[in-house]
Subunit: 192 residues, 2 copies
DNA sequence: TTGATAGGCTAATTATATTAGCCATTATAG
DNA sequence: CTATAATGGCTAATATAATTAGCCTATCAA
């Protein structure tokens, strides 16, 4: 019988399955079963098989994240905007652990597709930084630091890698304040 | 014929294979071939199979990193020590991309083993922070920020995720300065 | 020197990915 | 309205990797 699936529905099912069980446990077999079809049928939607599905998950994740942080920044500027973006990033990861794995690890050593995928998210951060009167290079450094911290912190947090009971919210706020200070310092000084 | 392998040799071979081809491409089959044996023989060393091998890789990686950053901090204190540790962390990742993958992603959702594995590395950072006269909680926050940034930055850098041509060294130095400022600010203020 | 253990092997099993080729339903051009 | 193409499903067959079972020999210690 014809279920009538399309790529979008399959990717969303795969994403939520990844969030539940980890992206490594999203097999074509179990995904197909979940969707009420047999695994070979998935090749009608993803001729590239599991690899293509993982790539689509990665792309879908970055698109979703971009959309979340874009929404979060609406009506905000400067520090407020950055803070909202960072909160939105962190929330996104906490709600989409499995998808976040896919975002980071698909195609790790072929950066082209990754660069394209992350472009939107990077652009949003870059735009918000326009308000600070920084040089292009200073903006690049600032975005890199934000991305690096967010990715690492959220990855560690999402798999329970911060064992100490001290509140993670406090750490996150401290980090944001620290990074915002660093960005502010760029404005005056000759540094970097 | 008896090749006479032991766990250590196998793990080291697996680690260097991971660095060359990515940890996902370390299969028992190809690892065994590389070592001059057949894949079922690996079960004599790792009864848990591929999963256990990956776990051992993860543990080996964290042990190695701990040893690197410990060596790097010798004879240094405060900011100098932290800077050396961060440089050593970054160098380690750039030389062990595949191992670093294993360190992050093995057993992602069962934090216990991860917590133990990272304990040494965390301890080194924690000890260096003793010199700053911070509260326990402030030290915890500081270590978390360092870990988060280092893991994220190095992961992104290691797979070419920072596309802009601006020098990554400059970003890294800017980030360290920023974080060190943040830690210094903790000493005086009432913040966090 | 003999017996246990370590460390290899082959053969067989299981699981998933993938390919090939068939078929029904849907949608659309005429 | 109907012929036909495209869509989306299926079964059967193949390939590869992991894993298990059971066998065999070299080494090493009692």
């Amino acid at each position: 019988m014809k279920v009538g699936l399309d790529k979008k529905a399959i990717i969303e099912a795969a994403a939520s399955m990844a969030d539940e069980k980890g992206v490594a446990n999203v097999t074509l077999k179990v995904l197909a079963t979940e969707l009420g079809i047999k695994s070979p049928s998935l090749y009608k939607h993803f001729s590239g098989g599991l690899d293509e599905l993982n790539k689509e998950l990665m792309l879908y994740g970055w698109r979703s994240l971009e959309s979340e942080i874009t929404r979060a920044a609406i009506g905000k500027a400067k520090d407020d905007a950055i803070i909202e973006i960072c909160y939105a990033y962190r929330s996104f990861v906490s709600e989409h652990k499995g998808l976040f794995e896919a975002m980071q690890w698909y195609n790790m050593y072929q950066s082209e597709e990754h660069l394209q995928a992350t472009h939107g998210t990077v652009s949003v951060m870059f735009q918000v930084l326009e308000a600070y009167g920084l040089t292009e290079e200073q903006k690049v450094h600032s975005v890199r630091v934000l991305r690096g911290f967010l990715q690492g912190f959220c990855a560690i947090e999402s798999h329970g890698g911060y064992g100490n009971p001290a509140p993670l919210n406090d750490t996150f706020d401290f980090a944001l304040k620290t990074i915002l200070n660093g960005i502010r310092d760029l404005q005056g000084g000759t540094e970097q």
